[in-house]
Amino acid sequence: MKKDRDFLKELSLLQETYVGRPTPLYYARRLTEQLGGARVYLKREDLAHTGAHKINNALGQALLAKKMGKKRLIAETGAGQHGVATATGAAFTGLACDIYMGTDDTVRQSLNVFRMKLLGARVIEVPTGSRTLKDAINEAMRDWTANVGTTHYVLGTAFGPHPFPEIVRDFQSVIGREAKKQILKAEGRLPDCLIACVGGGSNAIGLFHEFLDEPGVQMVGVEAGGKGIETGEHAARFAGGSVGVLQGTKSYLLQDDNGNVLGTHSVSAGLDYASVGPEHAFLKDSGRVRYTYADDREALEAFELLSRTEGIIPALESAHAIAELAKYAPGLSKDKIIIVNLSGRGDKDVEHVARIKGMQP
């Protein structure tokens, strides 16, 4: 299918006419001036249909499922963006759709719960475990085990048993391919650095993949530092975890000495996960990508910073990448170029942030 010309043609046409690709690569002039260092470009995945990069993968897998003759899609979701994207893919292809979502996440991302229902999906709350993304994946996998004959599991990130990490990366790598063309057109050269947030890591691998063989391009993945690594309430798998196996994937994992998976915390539901895509583990070990983290407070500051300087409200996930940008860009000279993947828009987070700030939305 990866080389099926008709499939690729269909996908490409839909990316253009339905998703709205290519998404713009935007030079953020005011943010660049405010930070006073490297030139900042934003890859505007927030402008893709449904408001995040998740649609790239969800639509691709929905088409695959249709081709395989499946009748039903299931998916897990944390922030709700992948759930909305999958519900959209299901509506588009005419397939039935059930979305698993941790109870805690249904509360903090209630707007997306309603969007999924509006799109014709059923949202199944998962009240077990940490009541977040990890548990939603467990439940989706249990469903899939029972219904594998009729159902395709649209895993939303570059994680899970083979071949999911590759499928998701391949559908997301359109981000990096476009960004490369766009930056060459705008600046006549490749960027010096790429920054993306890393939950499971699909938006990051989508941007990075095309640049991995370009030694001059540095890359930074930003995990959720939550309330701080020392508090244990975070989702920084590289900073605070060790190698383990969860949900069919060997990667870095937040676990105790007995191999049980630890609870996680992040202000952003999409990064609130105990493990990370295996290709990121490889890129960390090989040293090709630098991984760091931004804590809740830094992410919330970045959320406001981008809103005020550029008139763009980022998703709280993407705000973690902006937070790292705000630390890193000022130290670079003005001829350097950074591309940040603005993986999603922040409308879904507005209520949540207002609650945190003690304001009525």
Partner: protein
């Protein structure tokens, strides 16, 4: 292999009998209750006992065993603790014992060390539902070396190639999952189950036991017609905290059904 598991199946085969293999979660509701349960199971005619090792994310399990795992984790039961528990059990029983655990606790413990410690404590076999034989080279090698049976799973969706791979990797017995689904689901016995088990048995020299979704004596009897052993998990776990008389009654009815 001359382990307790193989000996038990040979002994049963000679009499034309089938193995009754109940599952309980170690530490549910408490460790001391688990010790009592082992005695009750043995007295009720269990041939082999599966001891569950609690894990935070039991992907292959339904609500009953998920909840039991949570209870056991709350009691501080770990893989190391279960191995110690078996060491202690071995002072009083020689019944074949199998650990059913997820892979990450074993990975974290260290596969080689796990196999050594488990066999030294008296564990006879291990089932790891999230470790396919393709990824189990170390465990298989160490298992052969120290005499720990590595029991792998086949499902209704397994194709001929997978059946070949799994039968080659498995020792002790093969675990055929009766349904596409998780533990504690409702059994839907389709007409194909007999022929699928027959197909598997053509390919392997070790016994085939069937589990997942079996709860009533009628279901156990139906499965025993095709299989060398019947595994009952969630239904036993559900009754583990209840009155002994009821549990013994239930186990007795299963025992009589599996023949």
């Amino acid at each position: 292999m001359k382990g307790r598991i193989s000996r038990k199946f040979r002994e049963l085969a000679k009499k034309g009998g089938k193995a009754f293999i109940p599952y309980i979660m170690t530490g549910h509701p408490t460790l001391s209750r688990t010790r009592e349960l082992v005695s009750i199971l043995e007295e009720s005619g269990a041939d082999i006992i599966e001891l569950g090792v609690p894990f935070s994310d039991p992907l292959a399990d339904g609500p009953t065993i998920q909840q039991a795992a949570l209870t056991a984790l709350g009691q501080g039961v770990t893989l190391a603790g279960v191995i110690e528990f078996v060491r202690d059990l071995r002072k009083t029983t020689q019944i074949p014992l199998i650990l059913m655990t997820y892979y990450n606790p074993v990975f974290k413990y260290g596969e080689e060390r796990f196999v050594q410690d488990a066999t030294a404590a008296g564990v006879d076999g291990v089932i790891i539902p999230d470790l396919p034989p393709d990824e189990a080279a170390t465990l298989i090698k160490q298992g052969r070396r120290h005499g720990l049976d590595t029991i792998f799973l086949l499902a209704p969706t397994s194709n001929q190639k997978r059946i070949g791979l799994v039968t080659k990797a498995a020792t002790g017995f093969l675990y055929y999952v009766s349904i596409t689904g998780i533990t504690g689901s409702n059994l839907t016995m389709d007409a194909g189950i007999g022929s699928r088990i027959a197909q598997i048995k053509e390919n392997c020299s070790i016994p085939v036991a069937v589990g997942f979704g079996i709860s009533s004596p009628e279901e156990a009897a139906a499965v025993a017609r095709f299989a060398d052993g019947v595994i009952v998990g969630s239904a036993v776990v559900k009754k583990a905290g209840g009155p002994d008389a009821e549990l013994r009654n239930y186990l007795g009815s299963l025992r009589r059904a599996i023949r």
